[in-house]
Symmetry: C2
Subunit: 576 residues, 2 copies
């Protein structure tokens, strides 16, 4: 790939752009635009921002991602989980620093964009690997529950606050007597309607003769219908006078060019949340992009994705938006509607700009309960507690990480949840590797293959103790190694040779080297040889740079079979 | 081992105690007592506490360790690094909470003791493994430098403060004009004398006909001579009137029984420092104990050591002391002087109790400059920058962890240094495992052994791609695995079978399982089989609990040779 198109994927696909692709992209853009208008308003509300911020966050970011991103179908903009994390981050930072809420949102987007861009340029995309799959699954599920709970106040028409599930539920319970019945009727009705659209409308349309894909797209327009119907209802009956909360006046016009506030105190307060938002946004976005790319046998470059998302977030920061990422729902709609290139995204941006200029007066009477309903129905598809059952069956350690992530996210908020999930995964992994599986092995008769004496019928020799350590040797298990060899040798008095079979040893770090030196000295003192077999190339290269091999009271064998032949003297004693 | 003596090692050695052991223990106790008096005073000064705290911290803790500890030679009491960490922890906590300094020292010892005891009872000693050898070495070296620098103010006779090297040096530089010349003369003289005792006295005594071991013990009494000489000098010439700082009045009597202040605010402030002190104290103590035990073929039980150290610290907390641990210098003296059992420690405690009752008036005129000199000479033996060179040669990752630990300890203090060292070791380890070494392997001719095609002359078959992944498969490299297999298959168009040789795969966690499922599906789509070979028992057990093996588009082979024979159809094509 050429150097410039490496950073500007647009040069790749732009060259081959033709009328067929243009038509497909225009159709996809129209459909996505219609779907995005209510979604953008709703997610802005979830983030605690005025509705126009959601629209603005969908315009410049989409355009910038179209230039820099590597996925052809990804649709970038406000998404549910990142909006929730934005609300949590801004709530705390504003309380601490006294900054303006909407201005802090720009700072957050700028920080997140800068981090993503820097990580992409330095090719650090692999950092996202530290989030294990079950931790992500647990976090997304718990976030879905939190988001749905946070919207119940709009459905009830009451005031309540809180960033954790117990706080939200307590707030709702206390506010229950002030429920506005008309708001509740609109909210519950919209929720029921949207559920039906999702579950019942598509089969109905298919039975009425629509092609399944078209039926699916029509069903995706359900939120628009709900928005239109409830807005007309509120406007027509003057329900605002009855206490129904509405969106109200939204500025009419293109996104404003604004410089984010980069004062030290605000940046310091938002640095850690921005890092978490970037991490989660990146992981979510890349998994959506890879799922869609695999269907068309296209490749996603995670580092280029970082650059694309970084540019998108910087775009949001300078045009009145807030942190954005590639969303699952919008990307799937874009893909299903036939989008062929990122140009579809650009056309969507134009559509949304038109909406920002022309359509905002129409949503004055839109009830917030309807927006809450669209959020609730959208996020409940994120909630999937089956990860608990699946991880329990397979691995208790993974189950522990998932449970901790879910409980901490619900009980202490999104930032605590995702941090704990990462810390838990890492700690459990180290714990497992600190007490590795060690097998005493013997020769499988008639082969040159060595296996665990406890699991297979093998030949052994009482003078030779062959231990296969099933783990890289590093600081977390260096002391374990010392103790283990000492104990095993103490058990078998006839042992004259200890062979460490290193087929599973992928690294020997400095701590483990010191432990091996100690083991070698102790065995030498009692007249027992220490040998290594099947040492891998990279490990051997490193050992050669130390003095260990010179001091070794034994040999290094290419294969365990060579060690067996050499140490047995050709006449192995048979044993169970 | 019986249940009770498991927790009370005293029942083991106490039963066999005889007159020979008693004599040896008494001699050792006398020598250690003489050495400990100046050392205890000095380390208390280093911790910012009154001198008697050092003596008290050597009495009850030694007795309790004798009952609960598993090492026969370890001498427990105040040590340099833990004293420095105590000063750092107390300085900050007192500034934050307004607590009394000496009272907070008791709280710190109580917290540390409680943690050590709890970790021992739950057998969590392996947590200390997360400190890699080079990080410990770097931390001890940097602490030695910090400690020596912190004592220079006493040598100069000026006031200065600071917990980091730049702060200390700046403070000293600013205070230089106020240097007290008589104090400087005493301090510099004592330092020079003690260096000579350490380097020159022993050879001299040996030449005069003393046995080397006895010469060594006489040399160890050097600090006592320095203390006596300078005390007499100050008292005789009335140098306090010239501004020479002295120890002053020290309460005469046995350690006071005192209840530590366990108020929530103080406990909260000291919790994290107590954890770090416990960790460092435990690691230092266990490595001393294991070094000495190995010489006599005795075993150290790390979990029992936690219990012994926990009891010792709780003892310190209730008798006017501060956090203690097993010290290198005092343990080696104890061992060299012939101590056979922990009873030697008990006799030392009696000796120190006598000193506390009878000798404290004698040290009224002891100049603090002399104590500073004993500290400086003692800690400079901890400083060993060769770890930088040794780790550089062997592994850049270990070198990075050591350098970060040293720089952060010097620049930001002990707590930042050791925390960063642990975090750095863990992060670098994950980084390495997230991009594992993957070798394409082939059959070594004439054997059943498979090795890297790039390093060995081996047979391969273009239809079979055998990849040996040299790492456990887990969340940090799950995505890497997906990308790697996809790339390798895309390169070789003739490939019909992919064999993952799992001899080095010690674990497949839930994230990696999902990645393997994804790889299996993708390969199936393009008509390529996915096989596994040499899967270890524990890994196979777990895979059987998932649906992966049912969905696998291929087979699992016991050995790579079996896979080769089965997939080649018995007729391998020869290639380089």
């Amino acid at each position: 790939m050429k150097p410039l198109s490496r950073y500007l994927p647009i040069l790749d696909w732009g060259r081959a752009y033709d009328r067929g692709a243009l038509t497909n992209d225009l159709v996809a853009a129209l459909i996505v635009t219609i779907m995005l208008i209510p979604q953008s308003l709703a997610y802005a509300m979830l983030a605690g921002l005025p509705p126009e911020a959601g629209i603005y966050a969908s315009i410049a970011p989409i355009l910038l991602y179209a230039v820099f991103g590597s996925s052809r179908a990804l649709a970038v903009g406000p998404v549910a989980v990142v909006s929730l994390m934005t609300a949590a981050a801004l709530g705390q930072a504003v309380a601490e620093t006294g900054a303006d809420y909407a201005a802090a949102a720009l700072t957050l987007a700028a920080l997140s964009g800068g981090m993503l861009l820097a990580f992409g340029l330095f090719r650090l995309g692999f950092i996202a690997n530290f989030l294990s799959h079950p931790v992500i699954a647990g976090f997304i599920t718990a976030s879905g529950v939190l988001i749905a709970a946070s919207q119940l106040k709009h459905i009830l028409g009451v005031k309540a606050s809180g960033g954790t599930l117990p706080e939200m539920l307590a707030g709702l319970f206390a506010a229950l007597p002030e429920t506005n019945p008309i708001t509740l009727a609109i909210g519950a009705g919209a929720t029921a309607f949207l559920f039906w659209v999702r579950k019942g409308l598509k089969p109905l349309l298919v039975r009425l003769g629509l092609r399944p894909r078209l039926a699916d797209l029509v069903a995706k327009a359900g939120p628009v219908a709900a928005v239109a119907a409830t807005t007309l209802l509120v406007a027509g009956l003057g329900l605002e006078a009855q206490g129904v909360a509405v969106v109200g006046a939204v500025p009419q016009g293109l996104p404003p060019l604004a410089m984010p506030d980069l004062s030290l105190v605000l940046v310091t307060a938002l640095l850690a949340p921005a890092a978490l938002i970037s991490l989660i946004g990146f992981v979510e976005s890349v998994s959506v992009a890879q799922t869609l790319a695999a269907k068309k046998r296209q490749r996603i470059d995670p580092d280029q994705e970082l650059i694309g998302l970084g540019a998108a977030n910087l775009g949001a920061a300078f045009t009145g938006g807030y942190p954005v990422t590639g969303g699952f729902a919008r990307s799937v709609v874009n893909y299903d509607a036939g989008a062929e290139t990122p140009a579809a995204g650009a056309f969507t941006a134009v559509g949304l700009a038109v909406a920002a200029v022309a359509l905002t007066p129409l949503i004055f009477h839109l009830p917030t309960a309807t927006l809450a309903a669209t959020i609730i129905v959208a996020v409940l598809s994120l909630v999937d507690f089956s990860i608990l059952r699946r991880s329990w069956t397979y691995s208790k350690a993974d189950f522990a990480a998932v449970s901790a992530t879910i409980l901490l996210t619900l009980g202490f908020g999104v930032e605590a949840g995702v941090s704990a999930g990462v810390a838990f995964s890492v700690a459990l992994h180290l714990l497992k590797t600190s007490r590795p599986h060690v097998a005493e092995v013997g020769l499988v008769p008639g082969t040159q293959h060595f296996r665990n004496i406890l699991r297979h019928k093998v030949e052994t020799d009482p003078a030779i103790l062959t231990l296969r350590v099933d783990e890289s040797l590093f600081f977390a298990n260096a002391r374990f190694l010392e103790d283990m060899v000492q104990d095993r040798v103490a058990e078998g008095c006839a042992v004259r040779h200890v062979v460490l079979m290193c087929s599973a040893v992928n690294e020997i770090d400095f701590s483990a080297l010191e432990s091996l030196e100690a083991i070698n000295l102790r065995l030498k003192d009692i007249g027992v040889g220490l040998h290594l077999s099947e040492v891998k190339g990279p490990v051997m290269d490193r050992l050669k740079r130390s003095h260990f091999l010179e001091a070794l009271n034994g040999r290094v064998f290419l294969s365990q079979y060579d060690a067996w032949i050499a140490l047995c003297g050709g006449a192995p004693a048979r044993a169970a």
